[in-house]
């Protein structure tokens, strides 16, 4: 009886949080899934049930959706490689006793706290020659690399890469912060013992830092994938839209379905599909890293 009372008391403490979670997360998710099975236009009260038709259309006919997915995948790949490597290296440097460490930490964390639309417009100013200052091209000319001068935001062949790098610049601060927290948490005794045993810096990194940082790397990678696949504001700030499909990403397609086509049900189905794919990708990545950790160990 006493145990039951205690259990009930414990549940009573978490009840408000559970209620809020249920009201603001679970119910909306159920609704979104429910709408995804209808052809609702988002305004009229009638919602005709059409089963899995929206999902079939996404899977088999909507080429623009999959193109958007590939584009987001490309941005994601660059972010995973460039953004996270940069974040890791900078975190590694800042985890040591270097001068102005606090200053660097503050500076690296400025881009993530800026609004995406502001970052987009600032970079548009840096990269564009018509309504911007064309700073990058001027710099390239100045240092004698004029062969690399390009229309960064108007050339369809490179516009997505430009977006990916600006996205990485904006996002690396988060990774930096998480990596730094992970690196600082590694007990210094491990390094001291290894050095006493004659281990080189590289060996210390391979045998101590990397294995212990793997869970953190997994976390940062998953957060990078989730953040990148759902991004769109930066693109609007940089190129104003989908740039004839070259800069189209899944969320912009969802917005188009909702806003332009008045297909709220279809937009919900796209949202559910995106969510499902992200869950699967994150799960696979987590499993792979777990396996990798075992190999290293």
């Amino acid at each position: 009886m006493k145990k039951l009372k205690s259990t009930l008391e414990n549940y009573a403490f978490i009840l408000p949080a559970l209620l809020i979670f249920f009201i603001f997360y679970v119910i909306p998710f159920i609704w979104v899934f429910q709408f995804s099975l209808t052809n609702w236009d988002g305004i009229q009260p009638i919602k005709k049930f059409i089963g899995l038709d929206n999902f079939k259309e996404i899977l088999f006919t909507d080429k623009s959706w999959w193109r958007a997915f590939l584009n987001a995948g490309y941005i994601c790949l660059i972010a995973l490689i460039f953004q996270n490597t940069l974040a890791f290296l900078l975190a590694l440097a800042c985890s040591r006793k270097i001068r102005f460490r606090n200053f660097y930490q503050t500076v690296f964390f400025i881009p993530p706290i800026l609004s995406e639309i502001v970052v987009g417009m600032v970079w548009r100013f840096i990269l564009n020659d018509i309504d911007g200052a064309n700073i990058l091209n001027r710099l390239l000319n100045f240092i004698g690399l004029s062969q690399f001068v390009n229309k960064w935001l108007a050339n369809p062949n490179i516009v997505l890469t430009t977006i990916a790098f600006v996205h990485s610049w904006k996002g690396f601060g988060w990774g930096f912060l998480i990596f730094l927290a992970g690196l600082v948490a590694i007990p210094t005794e491990l390094y001291e013992a290894a050095i006493l045993d004659g281990a080189s810096s590289l060996k210390c990194f391979r045998k101590i830092t990397l294995p212990l940082m793997l869970p953190v790397i997994a976390l940062v990678s998953i957060l990078t994938i989730l953040g990148t696949m759902q991004g769109f504001v930066l693109i609007l700030g940089l190129v104003g839209g989908e740039f004839a499909g070259y800069a189209s990403v899944p969320v912009l397609r969802i917005l188009a379905a909702m806003r332009d086509y008045l297909r709220f049900g279809y937009a919900c189905a796209q949202g559910v599909s995106l969510g499902l794919i992200l869950v699967i990708v994150s799960f696979i990545q987590y499993k792979l890293l777990k396996k990798f950790r075992k190999i290293i160990a």
């Binding site: 018509i130 309504d131 740039f243």
Partner: protein, 413 residues
């Protein structure tokens, strides 16, 4: 929890009318008019501004879903969306009010402005015939040219190009290191659609365009290919650059206002925008030059902003009375003068000046898909817009785009 269970809607004041709108440039003027109306009637009209327009459109849709729209609001979107609001019983039918006293109120507007808010008998949207909105202003979208730059390249600043070939030839004189050819917000599909529709009607005539929408004519028809080829020609003539595909209209306006572009494709709202950005800008307005001299040139126009009355409002009558007052000649002149927009009331044109007069002249040639018997599907419009962007980027030919548009048309038909 306290917030969840204790918060509730504020008590509605019977003498306060709430209006939602997105027009940032008009908020101070609306507030001024509201003060005058309060002194006159004792009724407070609260104008609530939500910008940018996309955020506003989303807010209105969310409010429609939650059935908590204000007394008066506007709808941004095509007629299909307007029809959905009516079918959801969210908008009041204003026909009896408009037609009262020998249609006095209705007749005070430009017919094109009323047509946008009207659903005719047997309309394809399945809406009960009637007038469902009150137009506040009208607009036309035309080509603009920079007079100073015209002079600089040796052209007569009072003589814009008369036909499409002449227009293309001007491209030869453009040195894109100094300034651009044509600028417009062509990262947004709808502005491309406006330009393209004008030329589609000029090249093949209105009937054939409608037949294409009905599925009787293919987008791969030679006339449609000619329409798509115009963009290729403009690109080759250096009138268009890749940058236009990533340009939002605000950027295009800034470039034109800074004397960095020879032409702009923009709506009459730009008069106020340019005045704010560069009061010294010297520009002229002209109809897009014809390709086919035998057919008329039409432009997008007629529909400006309109207000609708919430059918569930407890202050319907007061809201209608306010809208009637707002669209009277005196208030319309005040609005037009203060915001440089074209008034919807046709008796308020006496005091218009400068480029606004040229935009107004365009009303004679104005048309709008919202008043056509049938509207093209949004998916097809998007395919047309993206296709044109690809032509400008040099990634696809006119024929390839036409085939792609037709494929999507068939999928959606």
């Amino acid at each position: 929890m306290f917030f969840l269970f204790t918060s509730c809607q504020p008590k509605q004041n019977e003498n306060t009318i709430i209006v939602w709108h997105w027009m940032t440039d008009r908020q101070p003027v609306f507030e001024e008019l509201s003060k005058i109306y309060y002194q006159k009637t004792g009724i407070t009209v609260r104008f609530e501004l939500y910008a940018p327009s996309e955020a506003y459109a989303q807010k209105v849709r969310s409010a429609a879903q939650g059935r908590n729209l204000p007394d008066i609001f506007g709808i941004l979107g095509e007629k299909r969306e307007f029809a959905s609001f009516i079918k959801a019983n969210l908008i009041l039918d204003l026909t009896p009010y408009m037609e009262k006293d020998f249609s006095n109120w209705k007749n005070s507007f430009f017919p094109e402005a009323i047509m946008v808010n009207e659903f005719k008998k047997n309309n394809t949207y399945g809406v009960k015939p009637g007038v469902y909105g009150v137009p506040i202003d009208v607009m036309t979208i035309q080509l603009l040219y920079n007079k100073k730059l015209f002079e600089k390249i040796g052209l007569d600043p009072e003589k814009p190009p008369q036909d499409f070939d002449e227009f293309l030839k001007i491209g030869e004189k453009i040195n894109d290191k100094d300034f651009l050819g044509l600028v417009s917000g062509w990262s947004e599909i709808w502005l491309i659609e406006c330009f393209l529709t004008s030329y589609a009607i000029n090249i093949m005539g209105y009937e054939k365009v409608i037949d294409t929408i009905k599925g009787k004519v293919s987008y791969t028809d030679s006339d449609w290919i000619k329409v798509f080829e115009l963009f290729q020609k403009m690109r080759e003539a250096k009138l268009l650059s890749n940058d236009i595909v990533g340009m939002v209209n605000k950027t295009a306006e800034q470039i034109f206002a800074n004397n960095k572009a020879l032409f702009a494709f923009n709506g009459s709202w730009c008069v106020n925008v340019y005045k704010t950005m560069n009061p010294k800008l010297e520009y002229g307005v002209f109809l897009p030059p014809k390709v086919n001299k035998d057919n008329p040139m039409v432009i997008r126009g007629g529909a400006g902003s309109s207000f609708m009355v919430n059918s569930a409002s407890t202050k319907k009558e007061k809201a209608i009375e306010f809208l009637r007052w707002l669209t009277e000649t005196e208030q319309q002149i005040y609005l037009a003068k203060a915001t440089n927009n074209l008034p919807a009331n046709k008796y308020s044109l006496k005091e218009l000046l400068g480029p606004l007069v040229d935009f107004l002249k365009g009303m004679e040639y104005a048309t709008h898909p919202n008043i056509w018997e049938i509207r093209e599907k949004a998916e097809v419009i998007e395919a047309i817009g993206s296709g044109v962007q690809l032509i400008i980027l040099g990634k696809k030919s006119a024929k390839e785009v036409a085939e792609e548009v037709q494929r999507i048309k068939e999928r959606n038909f």
